[in-house]
Symmetry: C2
Subunit: 377 residues, 2 copies
C-alpha cells in the first residue's frame, strides 16, 4: 500500500506555509486507507521497548500514563487518547506514510507518531517545537490551530505541557485523508468526534543547546580537541585577580577553533543527525552471512528494504548510518548516495554498484547488522 499526494503543489506549499503558517490540506490523500487498525496500535503499545502513553481528562483534570499497556478498560469509553511513538520503526505499512514527505530532507524528518482517540479524546491545547503534518485516518477529529502568539503556559501534569487558550486561525473537522500542517510554535488542539486514528509525521530541528552538548560529548569521546591554553608571552601582572580581555578572547578563541576543524565537525554533525531517538527493531544476522551468501541472495531476492527509522546521511562526502561514521573510499560515493537517497533497493540496482569490492563489503555489513533486509511479498 503506497501513498501519494493528491493535487499538491509542493513548491508553493514550501514557499507560503513551511515554517511560516499552519494550513489545512483537505483531501491531500484521496480515498485514504489506514495502514494500521486500532488494535494493531494497541498491540504495539503493549511492547516494553515501544514508547507509548495514554492521555485522558477526568473531571477537568489531565492525566498521563506511560506504556506498556495490557488493556484500556480502565480508561473508559471516552475522553482518552493512546499515542505511540516511532511507529515507522515497527510497521512497514505505517512507514509508507512518511514517503510522500521525502521532498523534505531526511535529516529533518523525525518519526511517525500514531494516536488512537475515543470520542472527546485529545492531548489538549499545546505548542510543539517542531513542524508536524497530522494526517487524519479513520474517524473525525475537530482541530483548532493558531498562529504563533503569546499564550499562558500551564503544566497540568509533569509530562504534559499545555497552553491555556489561543486564537484559532483554523477551526475545522478533519476527515480521512485530510492533513493539517503546523509549524513550530503554533498552538493546536484536537478532539475526536468519533473513534479516530491520527498519524503525525514529526520533524526535528536542533537548537543551540542540543548541538553544543552533543558536540561536547563528541569531543570527550573522540579526544580530537586537546589544544591547551598557552601563554609563553605572559607579562608579570600587578593585578593577579583580573583576567585581561586578551586572555579571555584567547580562551574563547580556543573553543571557536574547534568549530573550524571541519573534518571533526563534519564527523560530529553526521553522527548527531543520524542518531535514532527511538529503538530500532534491529535483528542482527547470527551467524553473519558470508560474501557468497550475499551474492546468492542477490539472485533470489528482488527487493531489499531499509530498516524502518534507520537514519542514513551523506554529509560532505562522509557517510553516516545510525549515529556512526562509516569511512568510505572516493569511488564508493555513487553507492552511498544511492543508499542514502532511497529506502527500497532492487537487487538489479544494487548489483550495478557491487563491481566495487568495498561496496560489497559495505552492503554485507549493513545486511548483517539488520539495517537492510530482503522484502518478502
Amino acid at each position: 500500500m503506497s501513498y501519494q499526494f493528491h493535487q499538491f503543489n509542493i513548491d508553493s506549499f514550501l514557499k507560503n506555509f513551511w515554517q511560516k503558517k499552519p494550513t489545512l490540506l483537505k483531501g491531500l490523500f484521496k480515498d485514504f486507507q489506514d495502514p494500521l487498525e486500532a488494535d494493531e496500535i494497541a498491540g504495539l503499545a503493549a511492547e516494553e521497548q515501544i514508547e507509548s502513553r495514554v492521555v485522558y481528562k477526568k473531571q477537568q483534570n489531565w492525566h498521563v500514563e506511560h506504556g506498556p499497556f495490557e488493556e484500556y478498560q480502565v480508561f473508559g469509553e471516552t475522553d482518552w487518547t493512546l499515542l505511540v511513538q516511532a511507529v515507522d520503526h515497527y510497521s512497514e505499512e505505517a512507514a509508507e506514510l512518511l514517503k510522500p514527505f521525502r521532498f523534505i530532507p531526511n535529516w529533518r524528518i523525525d518519526d511517525l507518531m500514531v494516536s488512537f482517540s475515543t470520542p472527546g479524546g485529545g492531548v489538549g491545547a499545546h505548542v510543539d517545537q517542531y513542524d508536524v503534518f497530522i494526517i487524519q485516518g479513520m474517524g473525525k477529529r475537530h482541530w483548532r490551530v493558531g498562529l504563533q502568539q503569546t499564550m499562558q503556559k500551564s503544566i497540568p501534569h509533569p509530562d504534559l505541557l499545555q497552553v491555556d487558550g489561543f486564537n484559532a486561525c483554523i477551526d475545522e473537522i478533519l476527515e480521512p485523508g485530510d492533513v493539517l500542517y503546523i509549524p513550530p510554535g503554533c498552538p493546536h488542539e484536537g478532539y475526536a468526534i468519533e473513534p479516530a486514528l491520527n498519524y503525525s509525521v514529526g520533524f526535528r530541528a536542533p537548537n543551540q543547546q542540543d548541538l553544543l552538548s552533543s558536540f561536547a560529548d563528541f569531543a570527550l569521546q573522540e579526544e580530537c580537541f586537546n589544544k591547551r591554553y598557552t601563554d609563553p608571552e605572559l607579562q608579570a601582572t600587578q593585578s593577579p585577580g583580573l583576567i585581561t580581555e586578551a586572555e579571555t578572547q584567547k580562551l574563547v578563541g580556543l573553543v571557536k577553533e574547534t568549530l573550524s576543524q571541519s573534518d571533526s565537525v563534519e564527523q560530529w554533525l553526521g553522527c548527531y543527525l543520524t542518531q535514532a531517538k527511538h529503538e530500532l527493531a534491529i535483528e542482527e544476522i547470527e551467524p553473519a552471512y558470508l560474501p557468497e551468501d550475499l551474492a546468492e541472495m542477490l539472485q533470489q531476492i528482488a527487493i531489499w528494504n531499509r530498516l524502518g527509522g534507520l537514519r542514513c546521511l551523506l554529509l560532505a562526502d562522509k557517510f553516516f548510518v545510525n549515529g556512526e561514521f562509516i569511512p568510505t573510499e572516493k569511488q564508493q560515493r555513487p553507492f552511498i548516495t544511492f543508499l542514502s537517497n532511497h529506502e527500497v533497493y532492487a537487487s538489479s540496482d544494487l548489483n550495478h554498484y557491487l563491481t566495487i569490492e568495498e561496496n560489497q563489503q559495505l552492503l554485507l555489513a549493513l545486511v548483517n547488522e539488520g539495517f537492510i533486509y530482503p522484502l518478502e511479498d
Copy 2:
C-alpha cells in the same frame, strides 16, 4: 612567616623560561623555613575530605594507594612518597608559599601540592600538562628534568602515568630553598636522598575539551542558548539522503553564534575559571552576622583573610567567586578589584569601600559564607 624571592628577575624568567624551558632556580628562597612539618602533612592526609596518595616502588613494581591514611609503617622506611593536594586550602602557613608567585594571574594558579618522601621515594619519571614550581624544603632530592621530547609512555598503575626514560637537561641535587620550574610536557623525576619535603606550586590551563564540556554544561543549566535551526526558505529536494553544505554551515553557525553572546560567554568563563577543584575548608557562620555585627567587628579586628584556595576573579567588569557569578553595580568596581587582587584585607582599607551600601552587603555575604574571616594573631 611570609616568603620573598631572593634576587629573582621575574621579567627575564617570564621571557626566557615561562612555558618554554625548565630551569633550576638555586636559592630562590634564602634560609628557607618549611611552613609545615612532616607529621602535620601526615595529619592532613588522615582527613577524609583531603585528597592524598602514597606512591611506592617494591621489587621494580609501582604501587599507588589513596588516602586517608592512619599510619605509614606498612610502607616501610624507604622508597615511598606521600602526596597531599591543595594544602593551601587547609594551612594558612603553607598558603603563604603561593604569594610570591602572584606575578602570574590567579586564574592560572591551581594549588599547592606537598609531598613528603622517604629516602629513595619519588613518583617516577612522568610528564605533566601544567607548569609547576617545585620548591625544595627539608632534606635533599635528586631531580632530573628534560626538554619536551618524544618518549615512551607507560602506565605501571591506573593512577600513575609515567614515561620510560628521557634525556635530562637538568640533573641536580636540590637543597632547601632551591626551586625547579618545569613547563608543561617536560619529563621529570625526583628521588629523595634523605627524608624530604617538596612544595609544588601547580598551575592550570584548560584545553579545548575542558572548555567545550564546561560551556555545554553551562548552556544546559542556564538555558541561554535556545535558538533553533529554521529553514523557511527550504526548497524541495531530489536527494533526501543528503545534507547540503549550506545546511551544514547553518547548523555549525548556530553553535558559533553562542560564542558571540559575550554576556553569557563571560558569565560561563568566569564561573569555570573560579571553580575549586578541591574541597574548601568553608565554615559558614550560623546564625549569620547582621550588618551591625560586621560594623562592630570592623572596629575590633585589624586584618581579614581570604579563605585558602578560594578563587575570585574579575572578568570584563563581572565578579566571580568560587564558581558563582555575583552581579554588582558599576560603582562597586573598585571594591571587587580590591577583593580580587588581594588575599589579606586590613579593616582600614575595607572601611574605605564600605561607604557604598552594596559593598557592605557584599562583604557581609562573603563573611557569612566563610569566604573572608578575621585573622587571629
